[in-house]
Point group: C2
Chain length 234, copies 2
DNA sequence: GAATCACATTTCCTATAGGATTCACCGGCC
DNA sequence: GGCCGGTGAATCCTATAGGAAATGTGATTC
């Protein structure tokens, strides 16, 4: 009820399951729901002050994103956190999909796209880089927006679906939730190079710059994960 | 031992939502649920003789596959059929992901994998090629199994997710549901070439053969869709 | 004849209740 | 001490009911 009263005034009416979905997503990214912990349907319903039915529907949708796993008759639990090896796998998968996105999107690039990409980079520069969730979120959002813009402008719904399937992006956020942003300067520079390629209309260059960017992210994240591990163990 | 038999095999009892999910999937592929038609929650519940709750959960899962679309407060309806252009997009997306899968899987190939791939090809040869659903299904299953085996052996859960996101494979089936198999001989030959590359352990060759295969599928499907269109118009 | 409004039906959405299953705890037994 | 079985609580799963919204129908009005 409280949730419904809070935000059902938008232009497009949302149903309760949508709010539950978003609440769960926030809790997942926030770290309130830690990896491995079970997510009780009834319990979450009590906590959000709704009935179990919308919670059940929201969890069924969330399962497709890989954020939670379900076992019949045993319920849902938060998906385990990434290991360093899995993080490397994620980057390898991005290396397969995103350069292709960049190449294709360059063919459909216009001033509107480059403007939005430029804006995403500016937001990246302006975003705070602290370790807290609230600060990190703005940075992550701008980064995600940059890559998503390119994926959307590839003009191929299936490649976009494939990109979305890599929603582990969100989990990546969780992985570094306690670490903050450490490679902002590198990322900004690499994003700018990609933007230059788009402005020049050089699709092949855009692809190469995307490869360079993700490989950079991969290497830096591997280093960060080692730091993270040592901190956890200390 | 015997008591744990059921649990150890991972065949935890299926709940009603799982059955509804499969029933919907069959109805979708079968053509009983035509593109664009609404899928009423209550109506489907009556038809399957269950309550609306499991139906709702099954549809929430199905939405992630792209087979149905949902509008808040208006319900679900079957996703529109592919146009020829979208079919080409699907093949382009496969051209991005599957050659990479083949390349990586070749690094993890063993006798077990090549045996299973060989079996999939044999099943493809043996499958009937009639236009009816029951016949087509065996062919489609063997084809899907071949590609899925490679995707799974790439040993990268994210690439596998991306491949799964291309579940439009199923919709591709629907697109040609009334047409039957027309390119079996080509497909079998191309699959065999890919298998040869795996047996030789030549990852780069496997990638190139996968590219050749999907490009072949793309071209042939474009031709078939023209035939299909002319038949529909006649 | 076309647009509009009222009304009835269908459908979606949410809450609630109860049966079935799993899990956690605890006492008994080898 | 370790293993086994029973009991209670928590949880999942399904069915049902009712309010809210959307759709379809028919009559009225311009």
């Amino acid at each position: 009820m409280a949730i419904k009263d809070q935000a059902s005034r938008g232009v497009s009416r949302q149903v309760l399951a949508d709010h539950v979905y978003e609440a769960l997503l926030i809790a997942l990214m926030d770290g309130r729901l830690e990896a491995g912990t079970p997510v009780s349907i009834d319990g979450m319903a009590r906590e959000l002050d709704v009935s179990p039915t919308p919670v059940r529907e929201a969890l069924a949708r969330l399962e497709a994103t890989g954020m939670v796993r379900r076992t019949a008759l045993r319920g849902y639990r938060v998906a385990p956190l990434f290991t360093a090896a899995e993080l490397a796998d994620l980057m390898d998968a991005r290396l397969v999909i995103e350069p292709a996105n960049a190449f294709m999107a360059c063919g459909h690039a216009d001033a509107d796209l480059t403007d939005q990409l430029s804006q995403a980079i500016e937001d990246l520069k302006a975003a705070p880089r602290g370790p807290s969730f609230a600060e990190f979120r703005a940075y992550w959002e701008a980064d995600e927006r940059f890559h998503r813009l390119i994926a959307e402008h590839a003009n191929n719904q299936f490649l976009l679906s494939a990109y979305n399937a890599l929603g582990g992006q969100v989990q990546r956020f969780r992985f570094f939730g306690g670490l903050g942003v450490t490679d902002a300067d590198f990322a900004i520079a690499e994003h700018t190079e990609i933007l230059r390629a788009f402005e020049a209309g050089d699709a092949d260059l855009a692809r190469r710059k995307m490869i360079a960017h993700i490989e950079g992210v991969k290497q830096r994240s591997q280093h960060d994960s080692e730091v993270h591990d040592s901190e956890v163990r200390s």
